[in-house]
């Protein structure tokens, strides 16, 4: 190290100390918040895995009982099988789609981007219903699959549909920021397109690719909604939890399976740590944003690719929309709007829809602030490894937890007689908190991915200019990351609109949600009305997303002028 560099380092250290202290305090606060909204509720359920039904401590007896049943092994294998298959299909699909959106000249780019998000707008009930309409025993294309839709095939198709936008969201963030100089250099050196792709594009998106794979894998492992509707006799770990907890009220065994489900999260955490060490900033202070130039062959290929994917998504949505208008499937196919009169099938009528709006807006507002500030604190605080590691672990946990484990954990923790946070129970606030906690991981990953691509030099320069760190945050970091911040807000909003498995335990008489109502309506046999409510939810989220696109354009124009050359 040169003397000059050493001196610079020292002065930077000294001048930062006040800020550094504040940031460390911030990390501690963040860790505490995550402990209260994720760690403790989870533990209050998982601890029951070591108790018998009457609450006596029994050590590992439940685990021994569970591991000695062959059913576990089958379910674990099935879960792994379907999750791996979904990941292998979704990640390449999402990567090429994200690539098309960010690196090629795509006509009606906003339209393709919008369509790619549709699955995330829909409750997981929707693909299940649509697939039954399409491939069920009375479906239009029955027999086309060469076997029954109920089982592995059905879960796979529905999961690919459901996970696609999650992966695309992460990969668009990863591919959106690129340094044009790297490509210019490669070009000048005469590297082939393939070589550039493998040596510049892929390494730059590596962190995003791995995050996307981890997210998709754990989403599939923990989701029970799809497996329940279309899974047939294909047992997976998440339906095992359902059987134990809902079917037999055996919380101890439910906790054991819940603990087994945490294994993929632990793995994800380790992999993330390993990758993170090697990730370097893509967007240095001297970076030049990459603007794709038209190229006929490539653009035509990606237009065709995106069209194909979009048609697949729209077919499922369209089937559900049509189903929502049918009088009595499959014996009376005449159309009616009656199914949208929800007061007929649910005592709460449209009220639950407005509750959902309120909850989703709350989650988007508070959740985005917490996730982005949190990710920033955790990324930019120096050293302090233990605390930051704890935050990272707590941020990863929710992804691996089936909603119903988290939901029950919330009852045990927040409803405990001695808990000072007791007042939150059975209010709208706890639904908001629960939604933020449940979807923490992807928001955190998105923010982290965006932040990682910003050169630490921005901070160093600010520091040497004696600019307080929060001002750099407000003036530089937030504007650069604004697209990612808005993405997180939308992600939270739409997920809060559709989430079921966790909130089903937490709503009170006046806070019932539309997503829960849709499930209840479907269970009562009112398939068309359930499809109708799903469509209303999709339309709502799509409208919010459209607003986002518009504001994005405006804000991008204002704040992202630097991206243009």
């Amino acid at each position: 190290m040169s003397i000059a560099a050493a001196v610079r380092l020292r002065t930077t250290r000294l001048s930062l100390s006040g800020d550094e202290l504040a940031m460390r305090a911030g990390v501690v606060v963040l860790a505490l918040v995550l402990l209260v909204i994720v760690g403790l509720p989870l533990w209050s359920l998982l601890a029951k895995g070591f108790e018998d039904r009457d609450g006596r401590f029994v050590g590992l007896a439940n685990y021994l009982a569970y591991f000695s049943t062959p059913a576990l092994f089958d379910s674990a294998l099935n879960s792994f099988h379907v999750a791996a298959a979904t990941t292998l299909i979704v990640v390449p699909l999402a990567f090429f789609f994200a690539y098309a959106l960010t690196r090629t000249v795509l006509p009606a780019r906003w339209l393709f981007q919008g369509i790619s998000l549709i699955p995330i707008f829909a409750p997981s009930l929707l693909p299940g219903l649509a697939l039954v309409y399409l491939f069920g025993n009375q479906g239009f294309f029955k027999g086309l699959l060469g076997g029954p839709i109920y089982g592995f095939d059905g879960i796979l198709i529905a999961q690919v549909f459901y996970c696609f936008p999650h992966a695309t969201l992460i990969l668009v963030t990863a591919l959106a920021t690129a340094d044009a100089r790297l490509y210019e250099a490669a070009d000048a050196l005469g590297a082939s397109k393939i070589r550039v792709f493998f040596t510049v594009t892929l390494p730059g998106a590596k962190y995003g690719l791995i995050s996307a794979a981890l997210v998709v894998f754990t989403l599939v492992i923990t989701d029970f909604g799809i497996a329940k509707v279309i899974g047939g006799n294909f047992n997976v770990l998440a339906t095992d939890v359902y059987k134990q907890v809902i079917g037999q009220q055996n919380f101890s065994m439910g906790a054991v399976v819940g603990m087994v489900l945490l294994a993929p999260a632990a793995l994800a955490f380790v992999v993330d740590r390993l990758v993170q060490r090697k990730q370097v900033a893509l967007l240095t202070a001297r970076a030049v944003p990459l603007i794709p130039r038209p190229k006929l062959g490539r653009d035509a290929f990606f237009i065709a690719f995106c069209t194909l994917v979009s048609v697949g998504i729209l077919a499922i949505l369209g089937m559900a929309a049509w189903g929502s208008l049918i009088k009595y499937w499959p014996y009376n196919l005449s159309l009616t709007l009656d199914n949208y009169d929800f007061a007929k099938v649910d005592a709460n009528g449209w009220d639950s829809y407005f509750n959902s709006l309120e909850m989703a807006a709350g989650a988007a507002l508070f959740g985005t602030a917490l996730m982005f500030v949190g990710a920033w604190l955790n990324e930019k605080t120096r050293d302090f490894f233990l605390m930051r590691g704890i935050v990272q672990l707590l941020a990863f946990l929710p992804m691996a937890v089936p909603g119903l484990v988290l939901g029950l954990g919330y009852i045990f923790f927040f409803n405990a007689p001695g808990n000072p946070l007791n007042f939150l129970y059975a209010t709208m606030a706890i639904l908001v908190i629960n939604a933020v906690a449940h979807f923490y991981t992807v928001g955190h990953l998105t923010a982290t991915t965006a932040l990682k691509q910003i050169d630490p030099e921005f901070e160093s320069v600010s520091a040497s200019l004696k600019v307080p760190v929060w001002r750099t945050f407000a003036r530089v970091i937030v504007p650069i990351c604004l697209p990612a911040i808005l993405d997180i807000a939308i992600y939270l909003f739409v997920n809060a609109m559709t989430t079921v498995s966790s909130v089903i335990f937490l709503y009170a008489p006046d806070t019932k949600l539309a997503s829960v109502a849709a499930l209840n309506i479907e269970e009562a046999g009112q398939t068309a009305a359930a499809a109708a409510l799903c469509i209303v939810i999709v339309v709502t989220s799509a409208s919010v997303k459209a607003l986002h696109v518009l504001s994005d354009r405006f804000l991008l124009g204002q704040l992202q002028a630097w991206r243009r050359r």
Partner: protein, 348 residues
């Protein structure tokens, strides 16, 4: 502003907003708000609430409604700090379980003496009282039956004929109370050994074990499957909506379950809860139940809901609930070992 104050202010603003919202609501209401946990069907909630409130203008019902499994799990999870005042319309096997866990407030509703004996907990004072019974029967889709030229079954024994290969759905007893009462009924009618042998044979005809008790008859109604073994009232309501469905009472007899009313121990609205418990055994209430269930608790109330099989009540087996509760874990383990392990899609 530092980050921590930012976070704190955001949190405070949020908390304040929610506090205002939640304070504003109860201020309007003068009535006692009674939190009622239930698994009644959605379309029953409004008529039930209106009828009760008409007779008890000082009490207002606030429902928390979900499927039997979810409501039962929620009540047990809230055990240490109960949020429900009273349970109205939940499986008696669940209320019996709560009873053993000491979660119920003993109270004999005024007029409970008149109820049929099997509709009571049998304790003094009573811990729960029944409202109505639902049955697990056979739903047969006549249109699909005619299309595939399949005979209409008349008994459980008919269902194991090779005619029905892969065309029957029933609830998975490990995830559905209806599924368990069906399996327990077979074991009680046929005896354990013959019962398991019957299920071995039936397994060949089962297309899927579903995670819900109401789904099988709904699937049969929509022609998704030929035959569903499941909840009676779902089948009846689908038929009313136009499904080509036959509701068949197998001649060997039927498994059944009661829906019950029980006051939750620790309620802060005990007086209002007692009012509802009293009202739930009245003739008015039973007439209300009779509109959707074939069998109700009060003798002499004529129960003949639309599209219901008329011969249902005499077919109800002599159900030993105590035996059912005691042997549940053993039976489910055996069932899971025999049938749930073979989970790969069949007929490949």
């Amino acid at each position: 502003m530092t980050i921590s104050t930012m976070i704190r202010r955001t949190a405070l603003a949020g908390a304040a907003a929610f506090a205002v919202a939640s304070l504003a609501m109860p201020a309007l209401a003068q009535k006692t708000k009674l939190t009622v946990y239930t698994a009644l069907e959605n379309d029953q909630l409004d008529p039930f609430k209106k009828a009760f409130e008409a007779d008890n203008p000082t009490v207002e019902i606030a429902w928390v409604r979900d499927s039997t499994g979810v409501v039962t799990a929620k009540l047990i999870a809230e055990k240490d700090n109960p949020r429900a005042d009273i349970i109205w319309g939940l499986a008696a096997s669940s209320t019996a379980l709560f009873d053993t866990m000491g979660m119920l407030e003993p109270y004999t509703p005024a007029g409970a003496a008149a109820l049929k004996p099997m509709f009571k907990s049998g304790k003094n004072p009573e811990t729960w009282v029944g409202m109505d019974a639902y049955l697990s029967l056979v739903c047969f889709n006549t249109v699909e039956g005619k299309k595939a030229n399949k005979p209409v079954p008349a008994s459980w024994a008919d269902l194991i004929k090779p005619d029905y290969k892969d065309s029957i759905v029933m609830p998975n007893p490990a995830s559905s109370g209806t599924g368990y009462l069906t399996v327990a009924a077979w074991l009680q009618i046929m005896g354990e050994e013959a019962g398991w042998k019957y299920m071995d044979a039936l397994h060949q005809n089962i297309a899927q074990y579903i995670h819900s008790g109401s789904a099988p008859c709904v699937q049969a109604a929509k022609g998704e499957r030929l035959i569903g073994i499941g909840l009676d009232m779902r089948g009846a309501s689908e038929k009313t909506k136009g499904a080509p469905l036959d509701l068949i009472v197998p001649k060997e007899g039927l498994g059944w379950e009661l829906e019950a009313t029980a006051i939750v121990k620790g309620t802060k609205n005990l007086e209002a809860a007692k009012k509802l418990a009293d009202w739930a055994v009245t003739k008015t209430a039973n007439e209300l139940y009779a509109q959707s269930y074939a069998v109700v608790a009060l003798p002499g109330v004529k129960a003949a809901p639309v599209n219901y099989p008329v011969n249902a009540e005499p077919a109800m087996i002599k159900n030993n609930m105590e035996w059912m509760a005691k042997n549940r874990e053993r039976i489910l383990a055996e069932w899971t070992k025999r049938y749930d392990g073979k989970s790969a899609p069949k007929a490949k």
